[in-house]
Amino acid sequence: MRVHVVAAVAALSVLGLGCERKPTTAEPVKPPETAGKDKPKPADAKPADSAVILLGEVGSLTGSEAAFGVSTQNGIELALEEANAAGGVKGKKLAVRVYDDQSKPEEAAAATTRLITQDKVVAILGEVASSNSLAMAPIAQEAKVPMVSPSSTNPKVTEVGDYIFRVCFIDPFQGFVMARYAHEELKFKKVAILTDKKSAYSEGLTEVFQRKFAEMGGKIVGVEAYAKGDTDFRAQLTNIKKLKPEGLYVPGYYQDVAIIAEQARELGLKVVMMGGDGWDSEKLFELGGSAVEGSFVSNHYSADDPSPRVQDFIKKYQAKFGAVPDSLAALGYDAANVTIEAMRRAPDLSGPSLRAAIAATRDFPGVAGTITLDEKRNPVKPAVVLTIEGGKFKYKSTIAP
């Protein structure tokens, strides 16, 4: 009997500990199982003297937003590889330590504490989801370690403090872009909203879209809510169908959106769906199939952009990862590059000097738009509107702030 128990426990622990990914420059560890157990290598204990400069990354490598985390990590990895090939920073190579937060805010907070106190990273990159970034930001601010979020669009994220930055536009702008597009280009009069009440991102977009669309003279006929992780949206969609809207704004994440689209078609709800950058993943087409066709989304960048800066990035990314980069990958790449460029400019890599250097970012040529950080540590840059055609995002128009 005892042998069986031991065997079962051993099998389980192998499963549990196996949750590590192995990218070349990264050494991710899942915090809960291994926290406290693994001894930091000498290199991590005294980063100032070591040959590498360690950056931290917190990402959703598993869980419901896994596709976002993986794309972002790929982008960051590519940026670091290029920086190291160009001689690193201040004569030292760069490395990134990645912790998986399983798409959960509490795990993201734990990972941040660990990066700061144990790994002593000079800066933190992450997270994608605003809810997770909001859990991390107070910790980074307290410890005076700069944090650069690649793609958290909720305004509250950078409001936490002067050590928190981002390289993407913010929700009010994204909500405004879609409201204007729905009103001016699509000429919609009646729009319903289906929002994820558990997500700061979704709520933020909903709030702005609702206000702006009404100001422009449109009518919001109904707002229904779901919670991230639901798989049955038929009840809400049945209610929406009754209201007969022309458009349905679903500012959620790709996995939920795909199911929503599918179930809307199943219920015979013929309506044009609209969304935000949360839709941006190849998974949307795999999961949603033809149901997402003809929808419109606001986004950070388009792979159709002919500029050499973007095409060059796409080529390098494709060579390394065998896929067209989505905007999460582009923003991960931009976040890492903004940080690296600031590290080159900063007199030293202490928190306050690096913070000042990042805050001074002006006209940085990012692949998802040129980045100039304003006094609120948010970049000012245009958004693109894309439509879905033949299982692909197609560029429609660019809307400037």
């Binding site: 079962a8 196996g18 809400q236 999961l287």
Partner: protein, 315 residues
């Protein structure tokens, strides 16, 4: 009126899945007095097995009756085996220990399955890459039944699809099969005897270990069946899909009176319909609060569940 019908259809579809999963909870509780918290994750494993079978059969085979039957059969058999292994190696060695030990083990297995399945683990066998663990990303479940409108009411007001009808039929068939097995066969009698008192049952020569093992296998196979129905309905599958369904089904089992078979079915249907109508006619953000609030209310007035004592016979 049309919305009411639509809500009713939606609620029934969710409810039958809760009912099938709840049966597994209730059967295992009946014979072991154990809440098998890994049950929802066993369902998830069943779905992935079904996915693998459908994948191997190829896209052309989808929509055929044989393919669908094969998916159900293999997935249910695989889960029966998984149920057997879990019972044999995780729960049986702990049967004499305190009940809490087994409960914690159940939670451990639940985590091991749901997070283990989030790993990307592939092996190369003879040049072909074989996926052993699927990874965290959601996948689209193949169309086992080619969707066709079965009945359209009004001006496209309510559409009933063929797969909804077929799924409902399959759920009813599984329920009926279980009913016959438990109340009409020798094994069912032995199972009921074990649930009454397994010490006395053992004294009377009933092979208690075998009965418990088979109960686990049955419950797990039902979960696999429910899982495939769930995947046909919601089309997207991912390793954490079993967690919430498992929790809701557990609530359904407790509402119905845990250990009681008809109770689990009624509890499941009640919970499914209740959730649907709450979203339909009040605020949509209340769904989960109501599901668990419902549990509290039932337990306040009937701590033994709706059917807990009325029907003294447990399984």
């Amino acid at each position: 009126m049309y919305e009411f019908i639509q809500h009713l259809i939606n609620g029934l579809a969710v409810g039958t899945i809760y009912a099938l999963v709840a049966l597994g909870y209730t059967m295992v509780y009946g014979v072991l007095k154990l809440i098998n918290f890994a049950h929802g994750d066993v369902m998830m494993v069943g779905v992935y097995v079904g996915y693998a079978v459908a994948f191997l059969l190829g896209r052309e085979a989808m929509g055929g009756l044989g393919a669908a039957l094969l998916v159900f059969a293999v997935s249910m058999a695989a889960c029966a085996l998984l149920g057997f292994v879990i019972e044999r190696f995780a729960y049986r060695p702990l049967r004499d220990k305190s009940r809490l030990t087994a409960l914690i083990t159940a939670i451990g297995i639940s985590f091991a399955l749901s997070y283990g399945f989030q790993l990307d683990f592939k092996v190369t066998v003879g040049g072909a890459e074989v996926t052993v663990l699927p990874g965290a990303a959601a996948r689209r479940f193949p169309e086992l039944i080619r969707p066709q409108e079965w009945l359209v009411l009004g001006d496209n007001d309510v559409i009933i699809w063929n797969w909804q009808v077929i799924s409902f039929g399959i759920a009813l068939a599984l329920l009926a099969g279980l009913q016959v097995l438990v109340y009409r066969t020798r094994f069912g009698k032995a199972m009921r005897a074990v649930s009454h008192d397994h010490k006395v049952a053992a004294l009377l020569g009933i092979p208690v270990d075998t009965v418990i093992a088979v109960t686990f296998m049955l419950g797990s196979a039902l979960a696999a069946g429910a899982g495939i129905l769930y995947a046909i309905k919601d089309k997207t599958i991912q390793p954490l899909m079993g967690v919430m369904v498992g929790l809701k089904a557990f609530v359904a089992a407790v509402i119905g009176g845990i250990g009681n078979l008809p109770g689990a079915v009624v509890g499941g249907l009640l919970l499914g319909l209740c959730e649907e109508f709450i979203v339909g006619y009040t605020a949509s953000s209340w769904r989960d609060a109501v599901a668990f609030g419902f549990l509290i209310v039932v337990l306040l007035f009937r701590p033994e569940g709706l059917f807990g004592r009325v029907q003294a016979e447990k399984v």
